[in-house]
């Protein structure tokens, strides 16, 4: 029998050795104190942490405009690059304020609640792995073990099967730091089913609008199209509710809200068809 505890320990030893050897290497190349620019970061770290830099290059951060580069999160001072970079506040600066669904769905989850209560007692210098954190913040899941391609842990709405499988494997392994593998697997499987139901609602509404598009003017269809914009946000809410495990986003901001959108779109189309009908 393979002892999983032993494997963890072995991995942990390798990680410690790895981290130490990197810091020794980095010490030799340590830049002078003072402000550093992104170009300088890349010059050194492409050599010392090539894998990390490459994963960042693959990420949506590297491809966005303006680019979210090393200094955007780590700051310009080499002595303090790791001090606050793992904290949620860094992510929130771009990913919306407290009321934005992406932040609020996390904040109202049990993970987010524990972060609000205990986050200031957390040692944020710990590596993002092996349950070093009582509760996961943004970075623990989306940059687990220093992964710099955040999208590897994000389930986008429409994904190829292979991409989806990769994300699910990733999520399964991260959540397993704290939760039983079966619990995580069942949550993932249920989340997928829940998302598919949300998409069924969207497709039902979409089909009605598209059928009506040939018969009625765009102006007449405008209220239905506007409702569809809300519907897409509500689908996103289900995504966030599943991903961040917020029951409120899965439900009140998600499924029943989608039901309401569908009713209103049907109402618009019914009224158009009924108004058109006596003139036949």
């Amino acid at each position: 029998m393979v002892n999983p505890a032993g494997i963890r320990l072995l991995l942990y030893c390798f990680a410690v050795i790895g981290i130490n050897s990197q810091s020794i290497a980095a010490d030799n190349l340590m830049p002078a104190a003072g402000v550093i620019e992104n170009k300088q970061c890349l010059q050194c770290h492409e050599k010392t942490e090539n894998k990390l830099v490459n994963s960042w290059r693959n990420s949506v951060h590297a491809k966005s405009e303006p680019v979210v580069d090393c200094v955007a999160c780590h700051g310009h001072e080499h002595e303090s690059v790791m001090v606050s970079v793992r904290q949620d506040q860094i992510c929130r600066e771009c990913h919306g304020g407290a009321k934005s669904p992406v932040v609020h769905s996390y904040a109202s989850s049990k993970h987010g609640v524990l972060m609000q209560i205990e986050g200031d007692q957390q040692d944020w210098m710990q590596p993002l792995q092996l349950a070093n954190y009582r509760t996961p913040g943004c970075s623990y899941c989306h940059m687990h073990a220093g992964e710099h391609d955040v999208s590897t842990s994000v389930r986008q709405d429409l994904m190829a099967d292979s991409e989806l499988e990769a994300v699910q494997d990733k999520v399964q392994s991260v959540c397993q730091d704290c939760h039983s593998p079966r619990y995580v697997a069942r949550l993932l499987e249920n989340g997928e089913a829940m998302l598919e139901i949300a998409r069924k609602k969207i497709r039902e509404a979409d089909r009605l609008i598209e059928q009506a598009a040939g018969e009625f003017s765009e102006q007449a269809l405008m209220p239905a199209r506007q409702q569809m914009i809300k519907m897409r946000q509500h689908l996103l809410n289900v995504h966030l509710g599943v991903g961040h495990q917020s029951p409120d986003y899965q439900w009140w901001h998600g499924q029943p809200a989608l039901d309401g959108d569908l009713i209103r779109i049907k109402g618009v189309i019914s009224a158009l068809r009924q108004a058109g009908f006596p003139a036949d």
Partner: protein, 461 residues
């Protein structure tokens, strides 16, 4: 002489009552759970939200293990759980108590593990468990009745089960103590913080989080709460401002229902009944920990006034809808759309459900747009104002009232439009173009009875 009438009560006692009990037992014995257990099948994840009904042990490892062995292995498998436990009082008991290991709650046999329910915690925390169970006698809303409330909701039974999983996630507060004392730390201090409640007490029907944090109490908590000693019990003098638990679970009593006057806020109550007078006095006594009793009494009267005002508006909307229903002018009508959850399609008695006592709570889908407007007015706007008034957040009272006003206006206008539409339809029928009304019927049924989700919902519950 009159003994021949004796057979009626005798028949009731010997046949009807036992038959009733048997029927309830039978209806609860299906593969699902609750009163409609024969109508649905559970999702695998339900095992974790309702372990009493659905949990089955994982079978991946065989053998019996001691507490220390569990810890040794799980330090590697799921280190987060063990880290949490190490910091809990279970691993570091005081006063010569024994260490509470994994196996004490989950069992020793890895082939036959269980997910601890409140009954398991009761082995040590008897007083809290007794209070928690005692809550049931106060009826809904309640933590200890939350699971059966969810399982017996018509829309829960009707909808695809993967869709309504989130319902059970919150309603599992009846089945798991870790809804508030998160696992595996099980900290009392954590549950005393207001954030412990907000994963479930948030969102449009119960914005308890927002209304509390906006209130003066909540603002002070946000500014200073970090520095308070949360290990102290929820008693007078221990906290500068009240939190959710300080008021709703005063003195640490593990139930929230005994003082509830207006309940969930979804039906009107008489706040001056003798029973509510007792509850009112309990509130005044509690508020008097910090405030003048007369001031507290005044605040409660303001809440009563807010409720009265809201219900006047809700009843106006309800009477508009019931008027449309009487005149057969709701469109689509009950026959032109999928049935109300729990109703049978094509049922002879099928009709639109309006108002709390007819089952308004499930009327958020399979209804016409104007009924959905009323649902939102009743379940979202009304409760926004209620929670604002109850928690001392004037901005939410105002927003809720304004939202109710605009809902009422929208409902009034749409009702007028529906009446015009119905009149026009009637005129066509009067000129005996019967074929055309059938066509109108078909148009509506095509839109409302068909569609990917609508059909899926009909086939999957």
């Amino acid at each position: 002489m009159h003994t021949r009438y004796l057979w009626i009560p005798l028949l009731i006692v010997t046949i009807a009552i036992p038959l009733g009990f048997y029927y309830v037992d039978w209806s609860k014995s299906g593969e699902g759970a609750g009163l409609y257990s024969r109508d649905w099948l559970p999702q695998a994840i339900f095992a974790y939200w309702n372990p009493d009904d659905f949990y089955e042990s994982v079978k991946s490892v065989k053998g019996e293990f001691s507490g220390e062995q569990c810890v040794d292995c799980h330090q590697g498998v799921t280190p987060g759980i063990v880290n949490d436990w190490r910091k809990s009082r279970h691993s570091k008991p005081v006063n010569d108590q024994a260490v509470v290991y994994c196996s004490d709650c989950h069992g020793n046999n890895h082939d036959d593990l269980h997910l601890p329910t409140p009954g398991v915690c009761a082995a040590c925390h008897a007083v809290q468990h007794e209070q928690f169970v005692d809550e049931k006698r106060y009826g809904f809303p309640s933590h200890s009745l939350a699971m059966e409330r969810a399982l017996d909701a018509k829309h829960f039974v009707d909808k695809p089960k993967a869709e309504v999983t989130a319902c059970l996630q919150c309603h599992s507060v009846a089945s798991k103590c870790d809804s508030c004392h998160s696992r595996h730390r099980f900290s009392a201090a954590e549950a005393r913080r207001p954030e412990a409640c907000i994963t479930c007490h948030s969102g449009p029907p119960h914005p308890d989080d927002e209304t509390y944090f906006h209130s003066k109490h909540g603002q002070l908590y946000l500014q200073e709460g970090k520095n308070w000693d949360w290990s102290k019990p929820l008693k007078k003098g221990n906290y500068p401002v009240p939190t959710c638990a300080y008021c709703h679970m005063d003195n640490g009593k593990h139930q929230v229902a005994d003082k509830s006057i207006w309940g969930f806020g979804i039906k009107q109550v008489n706040p001056m009944s003798s029973g509510n007078e007792v509850k009112r006095n309990q509130w005044i006594k509690l508020c008097s920990d910090c405030h003048d009793p007369d001031w507290a009494s005044g605040q409660l009267k303001q809440l009563d006034a807010e409720r009265k005002q809201s219900w006047q508006k809700l009843y106006q909307a309800e009477s508009i809808l019931k008027g449309l229903r009487s005149d057969d002018m709701l469109s689509p009508s009950a026959a032109q759309r999928p049935p109300y959850p729990g109703d049978v399609p094509g049922d002879f008695m099928q009709r639109e459900r309006i108002g709390f006592f007819e089952g308004q709570a499930s009327a958020f889908y399979n209804v016409s747009p104007i009924e959905r407007d009323y649902f939102e007015m009743w379940y979202f706007n009304n409760l926004k104002s209620y929670k604002g008034a109850a928690h001392g957040d004037v901005s939410f009272v105002n927003e809720g009232q304004v939202a109710m006003d605009s809902s009422l206006e929208k409902i009034t206008q749409n009702a007028e439009r529906l009446r015009q539409l119905a009149e026009a339809g009637k005129a066509i029928q009067d000129t005996s173009r019967k074929g055309k009304t059938d066509k109108g019927d078909n148009i509506l049924q095509e839109i409302w009875l068909r569609g990917e989700y609508t059909e899926y919902n009909r086939d999957h519950n």
